[in-house]
Each structure stands twice: as C-alpha cells, then as structure tokens.
Subunit: 207 residues, 2 copies
C-alpha cells in the first residue's frame, strides 16, 4: 500500500510481528488481519500476555531456568531431590523432561552447547556456575542430558573433565538406544550398534 | 511441564499465541521463548503494537477497508478519482492493488465472495451497500476485481446483474491472460485460450 494510504497502526503491528522467528511480512500481515477479525478482547489479551511475559519472567539465579521469582519452583521445591542435577541445553529441554514425569531432581540450564562453528565457547555457557553448585551444594549425581550430536558430546566431555575433580560425584548421561516404538529395520546403524553394546537385563524392564 | 512447576505467565502467553492461525502449541512456545531472549523493549513493543492494532483500527464506513478514522484515507483523498470503484474481496486485495501503483480510484471491500459451500450468500457481503453507492455517489465505472475462481466468477455475475439497472454505468473486470514472465508451454489451456480470445492490439502495449 502506498505510504500515504497505509495505516500506521497496521504497519507498526506488521513490523513488530515480522520480528518473530519464521514470520515474514506476508505472514505478519495475515496475523494482523486475523487479530483484527477477532473480538477486541482476544487481541488485547494476546498483547497483554506478551507484555506480561516479557516483564514478569526472569531466570532462576540457581539453575537458570525460567522463573517468576528469583529462585524457580523446581529449585525452591521442598519435596524434590536436591542432590541430583540434570544438565540441559535450554529451558525447552527442562519442559520435555518434566513432561516425562520420571525425574524428581534439580536442573542446570547451560544456555547452549559448545560450538566453535557458531563461536560458542565454554565461557559463554553456565559451566562455571555448575562446577560451583557441585562444590557448594552437596550434589551427588550430575546427569548429562545434552543432544546426541557432536556439539552435545563435546560439551558433555568438557563438563565431564571439569567435574573430574570431585571424587565421589557420580556423572551419568541419558541412555542412547532404539527409540520406543521403532523397528530394528529402520533404526540407523550407529544407534543399533550402541543399543547392542549397552544392552540391558531384560528382567530390569519389569521393575 | 508439571502444572506445579509451570510458569502461569508463560502458560498464558503460549495459550494466547496459539490462538493465531497456523500457530500450534509448540510454535507458540518457541515464539514465547524467543520473546524472552530478546530485549524487554522489543517484547513490550510487540504487545503494545497488537493492542494498538485491535483498539485503533476500524472499518471505513464507505468502502469497508481498514481505517484509523471513520472514513479511510482513500475515500477521503481529494486527489483520487471518486467516480471509479474497484470491487475486491478483502483488505489484502486493496493492498495488493495499491502496491501496483496503477490505480487512483476508490475501493469497495465485499468481505468475501458468494460461496454456498461455506454458507456465504450475497446477504452476508457488502453488495447492497455497493448498489447504494453506485446510486448515490455518481459512480461511472465499477471494476470487478475478484479472484478468477468459480466463487469469484459467481459473485462477479451476481453483482453484474444487480448493477444492470444503472444504464450508463460501465462494468469492467480485470484482464484474464498469461501472467507477465510466463512461457506459453507452461501456461494452462484455459488461460491460454482466454489470452487468445481476448488478444489486444500490440501497439497498445507501447502506450
């Protein structure tokens, strides 16, 4: 639309929406027109939810997970196991693990993985603070729960070396193997090989 | 994330974002975390732009295009041609035509096309108000600029019949033919046939 006849309010909304990842100008315009078609209350609720989100969410000073207070609900929980720390790349991984319902310990969010290609070194990640937590908080087990990629493995190994100074600390990592529901025929060779090498007692699966 | 450990503020933002078209819960979460990673000012600007959009945009009472005032900038323009009205389906079509820079007349936004399959009849569209405009505003030409689909053609024909009562009114439609830049070989038969039947004088293209 010509500058002269364009709506500045619409133009502004389209510009802000198109800053979102994966949203180009065409999609932003489609979103804006959708918001216009719906009830005023719905559009206002969306806008307010975004402002609220940005103003009221901060990062837990202990584990760096998102939080509404200085210390997050997990770190502040009196019923969870404070001696086990699960190291993850980002807050989405925390949510994925929470969704399994299988974990009752603490977290430590690194904020990324070591990736020289992207210029991310150990200093940009929350590794020093992890070492400090292990030294100070009486942690007995660190679970390395990073992606099964070269960067994830590198980071796992770096942390493993850093934590080597703590003699009695147990350092574990997520099991690598066949995904539940997968067929042998369609499992890649590396994974299948790992599954064979790290086979577990069948009787363990009934427990 | 378990209810107990989830952030209500985040949950709220994800729920509102996932109401947007094409945005599921996973995408909404990705957008919310993106907003969290950026500057606070950026997130607040997005939220405010959306609230502003919904509160300050209304529809022009003459042409039903979006507007920041009772009458839109096009309808209120003293330099544009008020005797030609281009009939379009929605506000995006207005923007597309404005972007060509080839049109200086008025618009009339129908708000859809006749589509019995979707339960949209002529009464739900701004057709009566178009007839009234033609009767009252001294309009000399109506350009039918609807999609080249069955629904678009049906609506074109319906409007054509409705406006048949105005003797001196010129009713035109967008030219149908080969898209600029297309090759003969890849143009569909229907379009190619139309292009042949409605061929234009070569000398006209220099004008």
């Amino acid at each position: 639309m010509d500058e002269e006849y364009a709506s500045i309010v619409l133009e502004n909304a389209v510009r802000e929406l198109s800053r979102l990842p994966g949203v180009g100008r065409k999609t932003a315009l489609r979103l804006a027109l959708h918001i216009l078609r719906r009830d005023e209350s719905e559009g206002v609720a969306l806008g307010e939810a975004i402002i609220n989100l940005r103003k009221n969410i901060r990062y837990c000073k202990v584990c760096h997970n998102i939080s509404e207070s200085e210390v997050c609900a997990v770190c502040g929980s009196p019923v969870r196991d404070h001696r086990t720390v699960c190291v993850v790349e980002n807050v989405r991984d925390v949510m994925s693990i929470e969704n399994t319902g299988q974990y009752q310990g603490m977290y430590h969010v690194l904020g990324g993985v070591i990736s020289p290609m992207d210029g991310i070194g150990p200093d940009q990640l929350e590794i020093e603070s992890l070492v400090k937590r292990v030294a100070d908080e009486g942690i007995t087990e660190v679970i390395l729960a990073l992606a099964s990629t070269m960067e994830g493995d590198t980071t796992n190994f770096y942390i493993y070396r850093k934590l080597g100074v703590f003699d009695s600390l147990k350092i574990t990592q997520l099991a690598r193997g066949m995904a539940v529901g997968n067929e042998i025929e369609y499992t890649d060779e590396l994974t299948l090989g790992r599954s064979l090498l790290q086979r577990t007692l069948f009787s363990e699966s009934f427990k």
